[in-house]
Symmetry: C2
């Protein structure tokens, strides 16, 4: 399902997928920062340069909406498993909202990145073939 | 260094130490929750039952102050590696403060847990040998 895991083989155990683990830690930290911002300011802000890079890398990796849902479930399940006695509906809701807002910002940026790729490809075609 | 890793062997790669990985995720989530609380209320609160369990398990595992420092460094390095472009002195300070307050609460609880173990052992000895 995840093109960036193709090297390792999708059926390989998590332990042998360093890219997936690195991605998981990044999701974790960014969702945590987003949750903190949300509870403090009521809004999620991601630095412009970071968001632009995230938009571009997610477009390049062929990420679709369904992938965001899979990662969200994995994130929530991991947190619940790590601190089962702390896990409350409020805590789940806070992490969900943080993740959803972060995912929405990345998806929005992906539209711009995809449009930029398309127009750049069109420009290349124009240059080469017309 | 970590007694709870003795089964896996201390030189085994991280990938083959599921207990260390599970512990890392728990530290992550608890430090994140602490950071959120700190930024929101200026204080770190851990549920009484959770803290009691953490105190007891850390005493049983023979955890010393140096272990807290090792885990702190690992946590900060992992976060920095996951989001290098977001890593600022402010972010580092926020995570450090969250971790330090959490560690202080666990260390304090460990004193009570250790005292309880000692008095329970003394009681057993008294019961058995006098």
């Amino acid at each position: 399902m995840f093109p960036f895991l193709r090297d390792a083989g999708e059926d390989a155990p998590l332990e042998s997928q360093p890219k997936l683990k690195a991605h998981a830690v990044t999701v974790f930290v960014m969702a945590c920062e987003s949750a903190t911002q949300l509870r403090k300011t009521g809004d999620v802000k991601v630095r412009e340069a970071t968001l632009r890079r995230l938009g571009a890398t997610h477009v390049r990796a062929g990420v679709a909406d369904a992938h965001f849902e899979v990662v969200k479930t994995a994130l929530l399940d991991t947190i619940e498993g790590a601190v089962p006695e702390m896990w409350t509906p409020e805590m789940k809701a806070a992490w969900e909202e943080a993740y959803d807002q972060l995912a929405a910002a990345i998806k929005e940026e992906m539209k711009f990145a995809a449009a930029a790729v398309t127009s750049s490809e069109a420009a290349k075609k124009k240059h080469c073939f017309i």
